[in-house]
Amino acid sequence: MSSLERADVARLAALARIDMTDSDLDRLSGQLSAIVDAVATLEEVADADVPATSHPIPMANVEREDVVIPSLTPEEALAAAPQAEGGRYRVPQILGEDA
């Protein structure tokens, strides 16, 4: 594991949708490199035979019945919308693809 380069931080910030100024990048990459180095030790101790724990208390098959639970009203849903129009959330132009 290598330390984080400034360019890495810039790329990750874009992936995480957080704008960064040059001084942000400078400050963060130093701090992050130190943290990454500190946590780098794990690979040595976690070998292939050890299973991963994603849920601390093992359970399975937790499901709910296919029964309606009352929704929010559109007014409740849109009350906190930064911008709304015609019962929908309004956002500026979308550059990316339709999924």
């Binding site: 594991m1 984080l4 890495d8 931080v9 990750l12 910030a13 874009a14 992936l15 995480a16 949708r17 957080i18 704008d19 960064m20 942000d24 400050r27 963060l28 701090q31 992050l32 130190a34 943290i35 990454v36 500190a38 946590v39 780098a40 030790t41 794990l42 690979e43 101790v45 976690a46 070998d47 050890v50 299973p51 991963a52 724990t53 994603s54 849920h55 601390p56 208390i57 359970m59 937790v62 709910r64 929010l72 409740e76 849903a77 009350a79 906190a80 919308a81 930064p82 911008q83 959330y89 956002v91 500026p92 132009q93 979308i94 550059l95 990316g96």
Partner: protein, 512 residues
């Protein structure tokens, strides 16, 4: 204590005493709630435990409880006892910020399950307490709205991320508060404020409506000045919730009964395991001393003290600081300016999202989100997140082995007494070291408690004593913790919280 006013006496009661007095008709909830609101107004300008004070609605609840009680309506045990709620918990109609500018002004359209339970318990909600932004921190200095100050020394941190909840207790602004604990955010503030805090077994309290930090580590928990008070609140909060798939099926049983049993101070037959890896180098002398003294008291009361070793704990901090940021980076993606919260508008939605998050998130949040994004990114998953999840398994195995030899495991809750505000803010790694004793419990999902262990001789500041129990055995914490609390309280001649310095009072209104 001789010149305490009537209102002062009201706020210094324990929650259990308040509940009894209310039930006996000796006091009204209105008087009790008003006394707390007055106390908040008097001291919170300095303490800054509260981000929002819920004056009118708290008094409405109190008044309704009083009316029902007068009419002979049967009421829950804690009805009329006021409570503060960490601002990580979504409360319908009350502002909820998670300590972040990105949620400034957000009024949720729904209630968290725990907030609903508080309302069902008829407890007046005094307000929302301060916290590190999105619960990321150990000092509450990362709150976007200014830090909380430790009532024991206003120049010092109250712990974090739940510093507001702990300080509110220590400053007698509320008898009970609700916190959240992902790596120690209930227990460590309890330790540095001489209060009690419990992180339940993972899944013991519903997370529905708790703004998520690290989903596999987060738990909400009760905070109070005594073990019994905390037990009473634990029983209100806990239980299965169909809205939280990870919530446990078993009902919360026996916290109060266990606390009452523990109050006798008898520890005959109890085996207490001291975790070798938590308490050596890096731990302040006074912290270790008070810890040993507590163990001595336990020994005299009949407990057998054994040493246990959990070698994988040396990797716990690293595992935690990979798992938490990874899950948090995903959990915090929803803060994008589209449906709620802050929006910094730009010409495209992509740029709007990026500008909103740049402005709305503080530095610690950005650090952890970037770190988490890195830990999950293509090519790095196995080395980082994947490995960290394996270390979790090793930690669970160590705990299993240790619990085969002891009923509860113990350590100092935090390596030091509360440090000064600003002392560690520029050194994230130094800040992370605060959590080294509390993190293993979150990784394993087991319950943990911090109780006051005394004041460190060198600085007169609070020291915390941590107890850990196997998963589902939360009652054991109350049994043993209650006993040690009884023994120490007897030695001190009264609760430690009473020794907190008197805070200067003002008549200034606290900002709502």
């Amino acid at each position: 204590m001789s010149d305490t006013t009537a209102a002062d006496r009201l706020v210094r009661m324990t929650a259990a005493e308040m509940a009894d007095a209310l039930a006996a008709g000796e006091i009204t909830s209105t008087a009790l709630t008003q006394a707390h609101l007055d106390r908040i107004a008097a001291v919170d300008g300095d303490v800054h435990a509260f981000l929002y004070v819920n004056t009118d609605r708290a008094l409405e609840t109190a008044s309704a409880v009083d009316a029902d009680r007068a009419a002979g309506v049967s009421l829950p045990r804690l009805a009329g006892v006021p409570i503060g709620i960490k601002d990580v918990l979504v409360t319908k109609g009350l502002p909820t910020t998670a300590g972040s500018r990105i949620l400034e002004g957000w009024i949720p359209p729904y209630d968290s399950t725990v907030a609903s339970k508080v309302r069902e318990a008829r407890m007046p909600i005094l307000g929302k307490t301060n916290m590190d932004e999105f619960a990321m921190g150990s000092s509450t200095e990362h709150s976007a709205f200014g830090p909380t100050h430790n009532p024991w020394d206003l120049d010092r941190i109250p712990g974090g991320s739940g510093g507001g909840s702990a300080a509110a207790l220590a400053a007698f602004e509320s008898p009970l508060t609700i916190g959240s604990d992902t790596g120690g955010s209930i227990r460590q503030p309890a330790a540095v404020t001489a209060t009690v805090g419990v992180k339940p077994t993972y899944g013991g309290v519903s997370r529905y409506g708790a703004i998520a930090l690290a989903s596999s580590l987060d738990q909400l928990g009760p905070c109070g000045r005594t073990v019994l008070d905390t037990a009473l609140l634990h029983e209100v909060m806990g239980g299965h919730d169909p809205m939280d798939a990870t919530s446990l099926r078993e009902p919360v049983a026996g916290a109060v009964a266990a606390a009452l049993e523990g109050a006798s101070g008898d520890l005959t037959g109890v085996r207490i395991g001291v975790i070798k890896e938590l308490g050596g180098e890096g731990y302040q002398d006074g912290v270790r001393q008070r810890f040993e003294e507590a163990l001595d008291a336990a020994r005299r009361a009949g407990a057998e003290i054994v040493e246990v070793s959990c070698p994988s704990f040396v990797y716990a901090l690293a595992a935690y600081y990979l798992i938490l940021p990874a899950e948090a980076s995903s959990n915090l993606a929803k803060f994008d300016g589209v449906r709620f919260g802050l929006r910094v508008e730009r010409d495209t939605i992509e740029r709007t999202m990026a500008a909103t998050r740049a402005q709305g998130f503080g530095d610690e949040v950005k650090r952890r989100v970037i770190l988490g994004t890195y830990a999950l990114s293509a090519g790095y998953y196995d080395a980082y997140y994947g490995s960290a999840q394996k270390v979790r398994t090793l930690i669970q195995r160590d705990f299993d082995a240790a619990f085969a030899r002891a009923h509860v495991l113990v350590s100092p809750t935090a390596p030091t007494t509360p440090f000064k505000l600003g002392e560690r803010i520029d050194d994230p790694l130094a800040m992370y070291l605060n959590d080294v004793a509390t993190i293993p419990a979150n990784l394993a999902g087991i319950p943990g408690m911090s109780i006051p262990a005394g004041l460190a001789p060198e600085d007169g500041l609070p020291v915390g004593f941590q107890l850990l129990a196997p998963a589902h055995e939360d009652a054991r914490l109350y049994r043993v913790g209650g006993a040690i609390e009884a023994l120490l309280t007897a030695a001190w001649g009264g609760p430690l919280s009473a020794q907190a310095p008197r805070l200067a009072t003002t008549t200034a209104e606290v900002a709502k």
